[in-house]
Amino acid sequence: MIRPQDWLQAHPRGLYCVPGDFWIDPSGAVDRAVFTHGHADHARPGHGAVLATRETIAIAKARYGDRAGQSFQELAYGAVLDLGGVTLRLLPAGHVLGSAQVVLEHAGQRVVVSGDYKRRRDPTCPSFEVVPCDVFITEATFGLPVFRHPPADQEIARLLASVTTFPDRCHLVGVYSLGKCQRVIRLLREAGHDGPLYLHGAMEQLCGLYEAMGVGLGDLRPVIGTPKAELAGQIVLCPPGSLADRWSRRLPDPVTAAASGWMRVRARARQHGAELPLIISDHADWDELVQTLDEMRPGEVWVTHGREDALVHHATTVGIPARALRLVGREDGEDG
């Protein structure tokens, strides 16, 4: 009898669907690729044909321009496509705008590829949908029981409290430019912070794209050209890598904050140079990973990337056969 691993193969560079002749999130250039979402370690440039949600394609084009790929096919959430005897659907993954799980059916078997996902509410994208399946191929970025993210609004409240405590200083928040940035902005808006938010130049394009896709972000202003004195008491968003570079010297005595699931572990927070670590993640934490396995009850679990040992151990303990795929090129993404 044909087994799932016979028609969906795990190679170091990604998952390859044999009858459909396509790759999912390949790490090198291929003829036919499916993107789960727009982060750079999943959507890479240089492929031939690309299939993804409308939002993910827009993000890839915005990031890579002409290098994004030769041809594009948009597929709406829930729409069904047949590719060489394999039916394919994209379902919301709750990770960032446009992020999708890939649901594949072939030979009476259903395989769900999660891409990156989370289970808690995100005001910038639709929530993860649970589908029963034979094989669940999951990420495990935060696949250790020490990663348990607190409620995001509680972390936003800590940021706003610090802004109140240090009214003469600027709060510089390191956020990944796709997803985390816009989610933090929306969370701040929901917490009642209606004033201007200032952006590092690298965030402007994707914020504009989110707005064009219907995610309102309010009053956003570029840092560049803003007098230093005006930034006192304000919140500035920048890429994580810019927290400690010379760029931040233009800011008035900044309190450096960083919003990421990695902030849960102190040593990691210190490595990021974050004085105010904010534990806000776009990935499932340990409890969400466990919850997802529990709800999906798949016949087996394959773990693509992250801290797979612990999740494999847990799945095995609760009676779900599990193995690690060890794909390359996806280590400790900054999008944590």
């Binding site: 250790l144 029981p145 020490v146 572990v265 040593a267 612990a310 151990h313």
Partner: protein
């Protein structure tokens, strides 16, 4: 407890010294007695709870978590308290969170067997930050980058008394320091110093750098040998003697042979050394007397200790610290003549002629237990701490050995994602034998380079330890080499540190064991 946890949490990620001082001062101002006093003691390292060993926390974790998941988590986080705090399975923290003073009080009163139950109940009531702080507190390793001095500097922010005044009274006081806070807040008198034998902050030296040597006037300076023992302070009054380490720890109990054989009324500064009738012992000899609760009769006989006196701070009730060095030296000589002891002698003054002469003396000292020279300004008053320009230490150049990197282990805390603990060896025939372990001496960039080498050249793994291909040569600097029965090579280094990464040198040209053995002083 949650307030204290919040303070520790902010401190653990705050680099700026001024911000740390402000955070601590703010906490001390706004937190009531006795919680703040216990917090202060915890920050300053003076809260000795003695009750919870890491094993207790491990055992508790074992009852509430999966062992494999615990192992993987601890390996990743690199810190026991933090691992348990984050993993601890709590449905919802209770609303009765314990106060810091309650925790300290309950642990102090608890019988040994009751501690685990207390800790478990507290863990169930605290949030992850509170759990982390609790576990850090009861295992005695806060490690939030706050020294006792920084904590006292913060105290100087909250009232009129300045840092020097606070340092002076500090060692006469004990947690929860209610009289100290009363004094700081103008609600009480300055705490009384005369009623106890207390530690006075010691004067420390800077290393002599090239810049310090310009314009050297021999007449302005006094020189002494820098003895390789333990710097101590001896406080005496009739019928009582106490000895303190440089950091103010009372170490009298481990040295009854000394305490029973000195008398007088003074506070003295000197070097604790093994002093046999036939001469001064090595640091290795002294080491056998350190960190012991009980001393055997044989050790007392074979390794008698004494103090080589450098300075005098108080003569009777007479505070000499504002006198210049020369005047104190005269008083010291006079005091010792009046209070002779078989366990005390005087540090000799080395004649100061030219820097070149001193350099020669420094590099070839007359005794193996000398590790260099001390240079002190003739007019230097006795100032607490490391004051620039008054006292210098000019150490013998370190010994260096070219070793081959053999094993690496991930660091803890800030370095938990980096391979930062390195074991290295030298050749014995065709075999490498380990001679030491170092985890400092390198720059951040060199650490990143070492980490890359380890990851790319791993040949075997033993738990958190990786064995690497024997290809990378490290120049190791150390302060000395001793015989050791603990190491397979039979030698051990003192203060080994990585001085250079010798990518230019093939591993086969690293040093051989015989070369290292020749560095052992006979």
């Amino acid at each position: 407890m949650q307030r204290f946890a919040g303070l520790l949490d902010r401190l653990s990620t705050t680099q700026s010294r001024n911000t740390r001082i402000a955070l601590i001062a703010d906490y001390m101002r706004t937190t009531p007695d006795p919680d703040r006093g216990f917090a202060l003691a915890a920050l300053a390292g003076d809260l000795d709870l003695r009750t919870a060993k890491p094993a207790l926390i491990r055992d508790l974790a074992a009852t509430r978590t999966d062992p494999e998941l615990f192992r993987l988590s601890y390996d990743y986080v690199g810190d026991l308290a933090e691992t348990v705090a984050l993993m601890w399975p709590v449905e919802r923290p209770g609303n009765e969170t314990p106060r810091l003073a309650d925790v300290v009080g309950a642990l102090g009163a608890a019988k040994r067997g009751a501690v685990a139950g207390l800790v478990e109940r507290w863990l169930d009531r605290l949030d992850p930050t509170g759990r982390w702080a609790l576990l850090k507190l009861i295992t005695g390793g806060l490690r939030v980058g706050v020294s006792a001095r920084l904590a006292r500097t913060a105290l100087a922010e909250i009232g009129t008394p300045d840092l020097a005044e606070i340092e002076e009274v500090w060692h006469a006081l004990a947690p929860p320091y209610t009289e100290l806070f009363a004094w700081l807040e103008d609600r009480g008198p300055k705490p009384d110093l005369q009623s106890a034998l207390v530690f006075r902050p010691m004067m420390l030296a800077h290393p002599l750098e090239a810049d310090d040597r310009t314009g050297f006037e021999p007449g302005d300076w006094r020189a002494e040998w820098k003895w390789d023992g333990i710097r101590v302070q001896l406080a005496l009054r009739p019928g009582e003697a106490r000895m303190f380490s440089r950091t103010g720890d009372d170490i009298t109990g481990a040295f009854p042979d000394l305490a029973d054989n000195v008398a007088g009324h003074a506070v003295l500064d000197g070097e604790l050394l093994v002093m046999r009738p036939d001469g001064t012992g090595s640091f290795n000899d002294l080491q056998q007397r350190l960190n012991r609760k009980t001393v055997s009769a044989r050790q007392l006989r074979e390794l008698p200790v004494g103090i080589r006196l450098y300075d005098i701070l108080l003569d009777g009730a007479d505070d000499l610290r504002d006198l210049p060095f020369d005047a104190r030296r005269a008083r010291l000589e006079h005091w010792l003549a009046a209070n002779p002891s078989s366990r005390l002698d005087l540090s000799a003054l080395v004649p100061v002629t030219t820097l070149d002469d001193l350099d020669r003396l420094r590099t070839s000292p007359p005794h193996p237990a000398i590790e260099g020279l001390m240079l002190k300004r003739a007019d230097s008053t006795y100032r607490a701490g490391r004051v620039k320009g008054l006292w210098y230490k000019w150490k013998r150049d370190p010994l260096t050995v070219d070793c081959v990197l053999m094993y690496a282990q991930r660091g803890h805390g800030k370095r938990s994602s980096l391979y930062s603990d390195f074991t290295f060896g030298v050749w014995r025939g065709a075999e490498l034998v380990p001679v030491g372990k170092a985890y400092f001496g390198f720059t951040d960039a060199e650490l990143a380079e070492l980490d890359r080498f380890v990851r790319a050249n791993t040949v075997d793994r033993f738990g958190p330890v990786r064995a690497v291909k024997p290809e990378l040569v490290l120049e190791i600097a150390c302060d000395g080499v001793q015989r050791s029965t603990r190491h397979k090579s039979g030698v051990a280094m003192r203060f080994p540190r990585i001085s250079r990464i010798r990518t230019d040198k093939p591993a086969a040209e690293a040093d051989v064991l015989e070369t290292v053995e020749r560095l052992i002083p006979e």
